[in-house]
């Protein structure tokens, strides 16, 4: 079953940055892209389970803080070693000043 979860306010995340969001025992990363859109992915790197929230957002790329692996957070595509496995992404919608993510 999927459901929309109220994750944060739009102004909780600076432009070109991300925050960590924990819900029901899972951890997510929510991004505020340079074009103003919001995106969501799994919260931990697929390489070694490091929280991406401490990483660096550059345009549409999130770089893991531990080994500098990179993902395109719009698609989850692994872009740079040592990450080889894509990152799970989640649908996002903005209603008013709130950001919702769809999780199962």
């Amino acid at each position: 079953m999927t459901q929309w979860i109220d994750a944060c306010a739009t102004d909780d995340i600076d432009a070109e940055d991300l925050i960590r969001f924990d819900h029901a025992g899972a951890t997510y990363a929510i991004y505020h892209a340079p074009d103003g859109k919001f995106y969501a992915t799994a919260g931990k790197c697929t390489h070694e389970e490091v929280h991406l929230a401490d990483g660096l957002v550059m345009d549409y790329v999130i770089e893991c803080p531990k080994h500098n692996g990179q993902f395109d957070y719009r698609t989850g595509e692994a872009k740079r070693a040592p990450v080889c496995i894509n990152l799970k992404t989640y649908p996002v919608k903005v209603e008013g000043a709130r950001v919702f993510i769809q999780v199962s």
């Binding site: 401490d54 531990k66 080994h67 500098n68 040592p82």
Partner: protein, 362 residues
């Protein structure tokens, strides 16, 4: 006294996995997000400047060396060229491997491949070994980049200043990778999808060295090898000198970089060659911060770190006696005091390593 087994396939590595020491969550100093974001920002300009300077100097020194060859007057120019080839390539390999030196990815990749060739490291293999080094820094049996294994073999350390152990290990491995495939120990940290690249890189390196040797034989002179290959021997001393200080004499099997890494204040020339990796605690704690921002990171977190060593000589003066003491007791290590402003070491995390030996060493 604990006898260490540094094999990646041995019991110490298996124990580290079983006890949770491997792939653990490490201590890091709290830095406000806004400040850390500013420190992590990438830029092409500093690395382009430094790379043009590096390659320009290398061309100039090698050119003069060739012009003056075989006169002994060429020697100083070969020595200078050698340090840039056989030592600066280590730091360029390192920073570009992290992908932090340049903002533009292809620039990192080009300099990484050139530096990997010069420092005689298979670029495909070593990218992964260094990832493991950051995951499990000085965790025995897990970290494939432990420079000083206990008890230290001083003859090997001295030989390292001339690049001998590295080259002796590299050449047969290059041929193995080129003609047989990926070595079993490499398979423990290199993903299978990267194995073809390991072989391809080894074959390219073999071809370049083969052509250089053929040219030398054809010319009846070692001059081609003075330009390609031999500088890895006669110019290695600087990267070995600085590299030994990164972790030498400090703790192993801990998950706090303040215990197992060393920051050393160095002269500007060494910092150019070493690309600021003298800020080594800072680098390990926050590997996303590019080399040119490490002095600022150091200023931001030094209140939480042991006092830096004040010079290369002072750091060797601290490390060398510790290595000698480890001949008698492998468990001995230097435990540096923290300033009053720092968060204390988590003794409960490091109970196995911070036992009686640590207390005696403080």
């Amino acid at each position: 006294m604990t006898k260490r087994d540094y094999s990646l396939l041995g019991p110490d590595g298996a124990r580290a996995v079983a006890t949770g020491l491997a792939a653990a969550e490490w201590y890091h100093t709290e830095v406000p997000r806004k400040e850390m974001k500013a420190l992590m920002q990438r830029s092409d300009a500093p690395a382009i400047r430094d790379t043009l300077l590096l390659y320009g100097l290398m061309i100039a020194f090698a050119g003069i060396g060739i012009y003056l060859w075989p006169s002994w007057y060429s020697a100083p120019f070969w020595l200078a060229y050698g340090v840039l080839y056989g030592s600066a390539s280590d730091s360029r390999w390192h920073e570009c491997g992290h992908g932090t030196a340049f903002k533009t990815p292809w620039m990192n990749n080009v300099v990484f491949e050139i530096a990997s060739f010069m420092i005689m490291r298979n670029s495909a293999t070593w990218r992964w070994s260094h990832a493991r080094h950051h995951t499990d820094t000085y965790i025995v049996g897990r970290d494939p980049e432990i420079a000083i294994m206990r008890p230290v073999v001083f003859a090997k350390v001295i030989a390292g200043f001339f690049g001998l152990p590295d080259v002796a290990a590299f050449l047969p491995r290059m041929l193995y990778n080129a003609f047989v495939g990926v070595h079993p120990t490499e398979k423990t940290f290199v993903p299978e999808s990267e194995w073809p690249k390991v072989v391809r890189v080894a074959r390219i390196s073999t071809a370049i060295y083969g052509a250089t040797i053929a040219l030398a034989l054809g010319m009846g002179s070692i001059l081609p090898l003075m330009v390609i290959g031999l500088p890895r021997l006669y110019g290695a001393w600087h990267h070995v000198m600085t590299g030994l200080l990164q972790h030498g004499g400090l703790a192993d099997n801990v998950i706090d970089h303040r215990l197992n890494s060393r920051t050393v204040y160095m002269n500007p020339v060494s910092r150019f060659i070493y690309w600021n990796m003298n800020y080594h605690v800072e680098h390990h704690m926050f590997p996303m911060v590019p080399y040119h921002a490490l002095p600022r990171l150091h200023a931001a977190i030094k209140h939480d770190l042991p006092a830096p060593n004040t010079s290369i000589a002072q750091a060797f003066g601290e490390m060398w006696p510790a290595l000698r003491r480890q001949l008698a007791s492998e468990d001995y290590f230097l435990k540096r005091s923290l300033p009053a402003t720092a968060k204390p070491y988590r003794e409960d995390f490091h109970l196995a390593a911070l036992g009686a030996a640590a207390t005696a060493a403080e």
